[in-house]
Symmetry: C2
């Protein structure tokens, strides 16, 4: 085969200079019509535009980002886009970023703290305007320290670290935290269950060391305390935030013979797994046991019976994250924002006949 001269990897994309030559003007003039922010004679502008069209010219975003101010990019770091909850946050992030003229980089970390760190570093290289990290906050001290370090580094570079659904890194750390009322949602749901007469409510899917989980447990506990009910430790089942874990945990709970009349699942996916286990065991929901979830993902209305759950404003969480990061000078004193949650009652907790 005939060897071609080694072509540059960018191929033969045309540059401002090419356009300038064709239009018979200087590169600066081309740049000026590109920017649009500077006076250019009508005729000249037309010539330049024509040349651009003919050459099928597009600016090189990197060259622009290099010299210039910002690269107009927002980074979104998440465990896994496949989960509905995160997908909705992602949608919010993407939409708001797009509305603010920013592009959105997506990075997934597969539940690996190491990867979170690596990815945030990469985003620093990319000079992203904001780095939005959502989900999984570990109680690991070394990890927290590294995140704190990144917060400072990004801040120094004029960028911003945003933590979504995670606890703050500490006072004085330049990071924006946007959270939702995790504890309050769990409290409300537990109260809902308790005040329906349930006295033995199981909590299915506690994830040790995960802040989100701890907060939910804490709302669960507070509701019991308020009504002077002693929660049975045997009714708190460890697991993960997955369907499989819910299925297995429910199976084991049933097999253990421990008594209970309601189950509060750590997430809707956990609830979906639990529902399957209950069905297989011939336990009717809600007649025999009531079931509730957390997150209010779309699947909550597709399961049978439809699932009572805690609604979390996922999309708004994402939207707010980029809004706060990009306009942090407009929200000076508030570094920690909390959005509300509320319970949505559906069939899985409705008493038969009512």
């Amino acid at each position: 085969m005939g060897k071609k001269a080694v072509t540059s990897p960018q191929g033969d994309a045309s540059t401002v200079r090419d356009v300038a030559a064709r239009a018979g003007v200087s590169a600066s003039t081309v740049s000026r019509v590109l920017g649009g922010t500077y006076p250019v004679a009508k005729a000249t502008r037309a010539k330049v535009l024509k040349a651009m069209r003919e050459l099928d010219y597009v600016v090189n975003a990197h060259a622009r980002a290099l010299g210039g101010s910002t690269n107009n990019t927002v980074a979104f770091v998440v465990d896994d886009v496949t989960g509905s909850f995160y997908a909705h946050i992602a949608r919010g992030v993407e939409e708001q970023a797009s509305a603010e003229g920013r592009l959105c980089m997506l990075c997934t970390t597969h539940n690996d703290p190491q990867r979170v760190l690596a990815v945030v570093e990469t985003m620093r290289e990319q000079r992203a305007d904001a780095v939005i990290v959502v989900g999984g906050a570990w109680d690991d001290r070394a990890y927290q320290d590294r995140m704190t370090h990144f917060a400072h580094a990004l801040d120094r570079a004029g960028s911003r670290l945003v933590l979504v659904g995670r606890p703050p890194l500490g006072p004085g750390v330049p990071a924006t935290v946007i959270d939702y009322d995790n504890e309050g949602g769990a409290f409300a749901m537990t109260t809902h269950l308790l005040s329906a007469g349930h006295r033995r409510v199981a909590y299915l899917g506690r994830v040790p060391g995960l802040s989100t989980s701890s907060q939910r447990i804490s709302g669960f506990t507070r509701a019991h305390e308020m009504l002077d009910i002693e929660p049975d430790p045997k009714l708190i089942i460890d697991g993960t935030f997955s369907r499989g874990s819910g299925y297995q945990g429910m199976h084991e709970l049933l097999a253990s013979g421990t008594e209970f009349s309601a189950v509060f699942a750590g997430t809707d996916m956990v609830a979906a797994g639990a529902l399957q286990a209950l069905r297989e065991a011939g336990v009717r929901v809600p007649e025999d046991v009531a079931l509730a979830g957390y997150d209010d993902i779309p699947t909550a209305i597709d399961v049978y019976p439809t699932l009572t759950t805690v609604h979390v404003p996922a999309e708004e969480l994402g939207r707010a994250a980029v809004r706060l990061a990009l306009h942090r000078d407009e929200f000076p004193e508030s570094q920690h924002h909390v959005l509300g949650t509320h319970i949505v009652v559906r069939d899985s907790t409705r008493r038969h006949g009512r």
Copy 2:
């Protein structure tokens, strides 16, 4: 408030030169240890590394992309990450991109052809190594022409347009197409329904002008023809690929009084909506009517009864898209790839008592 000197937007991020100065070497040497691809004296390397650490240095990806070959970015353009099907493709794309050392840009287009065009243009500015577009292909001629134009432009720039789940743009157009056997899946499912004895099968959710939909209809029709059954046009219901459309379409079909014993929904989400409508109408699935979907999203096992559907290898689709785009020289003659589909039989089509 005290005015600060206008700081550069990048803040005071340190550069190779800063590192060089601190380590007492030249910028090129720093660059060499950065690249790691060139011999540097052990002691020098150590000094440089130390300086980098002390300065908390990170390379500027844009400067690198500008001079250099590639910017190591893959763009993923999709209607909406919120749908499970697309989310799984996204996961495949992200994972493969990450495995190949690429970053992933996410852009959503909200079912707007104009936005697809705009977004692809932006990706051209970003000099992405590959631009992966998934979903919604419109029969609009002008739109196709523009996409063809982009394919050429990207190709000229050393990049690549990849179409996932869409028909090819035409022979000679430098684009990679990765598709799945849409028609075959629909054919297999329809055959499954027909051979179970159903003679009046409704197709719920045809989307006029959408290639994916046309292909499914065509498999549906071919199955009927093969068994010498005349499909009733009244049983083909137009709509969109959404839950709401499935719900409404099913309602109307029921209200129309048209007879049928099985429903093949355009997607699993359409099936979920249909299921709700059937339940509200007191129609039992599968006893009174059988129901099937398409895509095999996770929700298919959470609905009740569990949903018979066509499995599409979504994640692999995403992975393959990246692989093919990045190594297109290794797959010279194959521009059009088709992954297989197969039906997954669950409870929604099982005859009672069998």
